[in-house]
Symmetry: C2
Subunit: 247 residues, 2 copies
Amino acid sequence: MEPLVVEHAAALIVGNELLSGKVAEANLVELARTLRPLGVELARASLLPDELRVLTREIQTLSRDYSLVFTSGGVGPTHDDITIDAVAAAFGVRSVEHPTLAELIRRAYGERCTPAHLRMALVPEGAELALSPSGAWPTPVFRNVWMLPGVPEVFREKLDTIRAWVRGPSPFVSLAVYTKLDEPSLKVLIDQSVETHPDVDVGSYPRWFEPSYKTKVTFDARDRAAVERAAREFVASLPEGALVRVE
Amino acid sequence: MEPLVVEHAAALIVGNELLSGKVAEANLVELARTLRPLGVELARASLLPDELRVLTREIQTLSRDYSLVFTSGGVGPTHDDITIDAVAAAFGVRSVEHPTLAELIRRAYGERCTPAHLRMALVPEGAELALSPSGAWPTPVFRNVWMLPGVPEVFREKLDTIRAWVRGPSPFVSLAVYTKLDEPSLKVLIDQSVETHPDVDVGSYPRWFEPSYKTKVTFDARDRAAVERAAREFVASLPEGALVRVE
């Protein structure tokens, strides 16, 4: 596999347990916080149940519309683990045993290894493996779809693999201005900033139950000078005493 | 507004801050845990950035494919709060000031009330208000789209409103069987259960770092007798000593 330079990505989080509220979703923020410093924009996330047709259609759409797709979940040995089959179906190929994964599983389970264990070696036919720099389990990649596990402890082990193989065209730069004013009071100043700096993504985040500040205004772009200019001008436009800090 | 009986729902979670990793998404699990006991199936969730065209298209799709849509986020007074406009655009209507909301805002802010504050009274033209049983802020509803706030503390205040107005055709019943066996060892028994009980949703959840059990197998359906039968037969099929508990 070659290292990848990509602009944006989508996440497909799979699992009935997340939609029924049995389990709180925990992987999305980890993926977001991994991609952001790499300069890859996470452009959307979809959470879907364990249904082959639904997953297949979503994988087709996401893999067409975004540079990379990261799936999470549905890769174990049981009947409700259908992500690999859905990726295979999305591209019209079969699921086959990957010899490297099968060998790893045989080595890990030894005499206890059964056909059920070997189901975890299935990949869409033609998939490659992204190797982990720390020696953790390799990640199957088919075209632009990365298939990651759902168990949060195991998902987190794969973040190093993403860092090793994926990066954006340039990093994002972000500054946050914390103020004592509420959003309505800041609206004119924020609107002015948005208009003056169309290439900077300006965000406004009120905190209702936070004693130290009322609104955080963020400035994001790939261009550091543009971000610093927008933040500096916004701070200069604040009334006296309104600024808490810039980070 | 009339109380609603609905089969399924979708969630649309809005906000750049969730996709950039600045903030961890926190409302989805609350919504899931509210809908489940009501007997409403949360069938999918989409997390999208603050982009009018993207949101408009998603609202059109979700409101067509699901009985109800709950949006979260993008309802404040600033430029990046565009959920109301996206719902209006999705149905080809304008955003207009709702007189009841405008009055509430004027009362809350008194002399400090500005046009920026009154932006929070905007709704798609023709929207109704779902009133809160506890007197919290009313929730704008346009056709089958409920527009909820993104700030988690405020989002949670709206869950009572959902409970007051929405319910499913019948509640879900769920049983969980905790076992000492790993998933591959259970696969044959689980497959047998899935085949024998096609109307019961069987889930299998391994825990890799939990001392008290290795796999939780869940049985879910609207039919209590069917769930109890499937769980009972599965427990009976377990080898001696494998059962930890049933919940």
